[in-house]
Amino acid sequence: METRRRLELIVERMAQSRAGNILKDAGIKGYTVLDAVAGYADGLDWQSDADISLAQDMVVIIAIGDNATIDRALQNLHQLLDAHIGVLSVSDVQIMRPERF
């Protein structure tokens, strides 16, 4: 197995397509989006069921890529998070088909 990097971006839904653009521009081959249903930050709880506007929903974007791709994305994602609500983390993972990432 080879090592790649797994980027996990927790970000507001309205910024999902911007984050996607950044990842695509960095050359990522794929990513996956999950719905967050609740959370906590700044001393406040939120819940997607309680939000009629969809303005406060969050999603989790998972993208596995090689070092260079993730590095290219990080710069712009960092800037995205200057404007948008969210949290970013990166970790190492082992994968089996290096040509896919």
């Binding site: 309205m14 069921d49 309680a50 009629i52 406060q56």
Partner: protein
């Protein structure tokens, strides 16, 4: 202003369900309506409103007055944010970006408030025209554009948020789900006419008021949670704005209605549209366009203060005034 209308309004199922939701959320009950179910209901309501408006337009056709109202409506949606922005900057400590984002909500409209007004009007025996649904739809978005200008440099810089595409904001303004659903259904109602509509009436008309109750329960829950969360971000001036602004907007709309010689029912609806504030389309657009503005301010104000005010006191008041000025 007849206290009968007021009492009838406050004891209507729709208002009572809003109060139930509000109370449950403030008391921290675990009552909730699944997001996807609520979204489905919202869609139903918009389709039903659109269809009905379209069918009525297919009966009455277009005329000069309608054209004039439409132009006035677009103008109102563009201009009300300026008034709102000025007020907010004077009355409250909100910064430029938050004031601009909040102002956008007040230039746009709330379709549920519109529907509640339609029903209240109907119950008092006054009639209103179908084309006001089209007026509602075209008032949704212009205010968003005004807000971008008001936010000024802050907005311009947000044009450079990483990952943003050319045209994403235009798409959000022109093709957002509310506008497309409302206008699309309106056109369908128009094309299919009375006959086609008859086939879907048992779904889109007969149960409408009941479905609306469920949606208002959800709005009450959202408003209650919003108030619990957003309370600390709202100063007294901001709260006052949430009631003063709809009154001002309604007054301006009343003057226009007077000039355009609108009948009482239509004048009341036009005033209601002006007075109502968005809590679905505009918040989403603001997250894209002015992400630094806080939803806890604009959403709490629009959903937690202005919406219940309009629903209970505003609508009877606008109807009262409209009857005085209406042709």
């Amino acid at each position: 202003m007849s206290s009968d209308i007021l009492l009838a309004t406050i004891t209507s199922p729709v208002v009572l369900f809003f109060v139930l939701g509000l109370g449950a959320a403030l008391a921290r009950s675990d009552m909730s309506i699944p997001e996807s179910f609520a979204k489905g209901i919202a869609l139903y309501l918009m389709i039903a409103i659109g269809l009905k408006g379209g069918v009525e337009m297919s009966k009455s056709g277009l005329n000069l007055q309608i054209g004039a109202v439409m132009i006035a409506a677009i103008g109102l949606s563009f201009c009300l944010p300026l008034l709102a922005f000025t007020l907010l900057r004077r009355m409250t400590g909100l910064d430029r970006v938050n004031a601009a984002a909040t102002a956008a909500h007040y230039g746009s409209i709330s379709i549920v408030t519109f529907v509640a007004a339609t029903e209240a009007i109907r119950l008092t025996g006054v009639s209103s025209s179908g084309y006001l649904v089209a007026v509602a739809a075209i008032m949704e978005s212009p205010a968003i554009i005004s807000a971008l200008f008001l936010a000024g440099s802050a907005a311009r810089s947000s044009g450079h948020i990483a990952g943003s595409e050319r045209g994403e904001l235009v798409r959000e303004v022109a093709l957002n789900a509310s506008v497309v659903t409302l206008l699309g259904s309106l056109v369908i109602g128009w094309i299919t006419g009375v006959e086609g509509f008859a086939r879907v009436e048992p779904f889109f008309v007969t149960p409408f008021q009941g479905v609306l109750c469920v949606f208002l329960l959800d709005m009450g829950l959202a408003a209650g949670r919003g108030l619990r969360r957003g309370w600390r971000d709202l100063e007294r001036g901001t709260l006052a704005f949430g009631i003063i602004m709809p009154l001002l907007s309604a007054s301006i709309a009343a003057s226009i209605a007077l000039i355009l010689r609108l009948p009482a029912g239509d004048a009341a609806l036009f005033m209601t549209l002006a007075a109502s504030a968005s809590y679905i389309a505009v918040p989403a657009a603001m997250r894209l366009a002015l992400p630094k503005a806080k939803p806890s301010i604009y959403l709490t104000l629009s959903l937690g203060i202005t919406f219940p005010f309009n629903l209970t006191l505003g609508i009877p008041l606008y109807l009262f005034v409209a009857k005085l000025i209406g042709t």
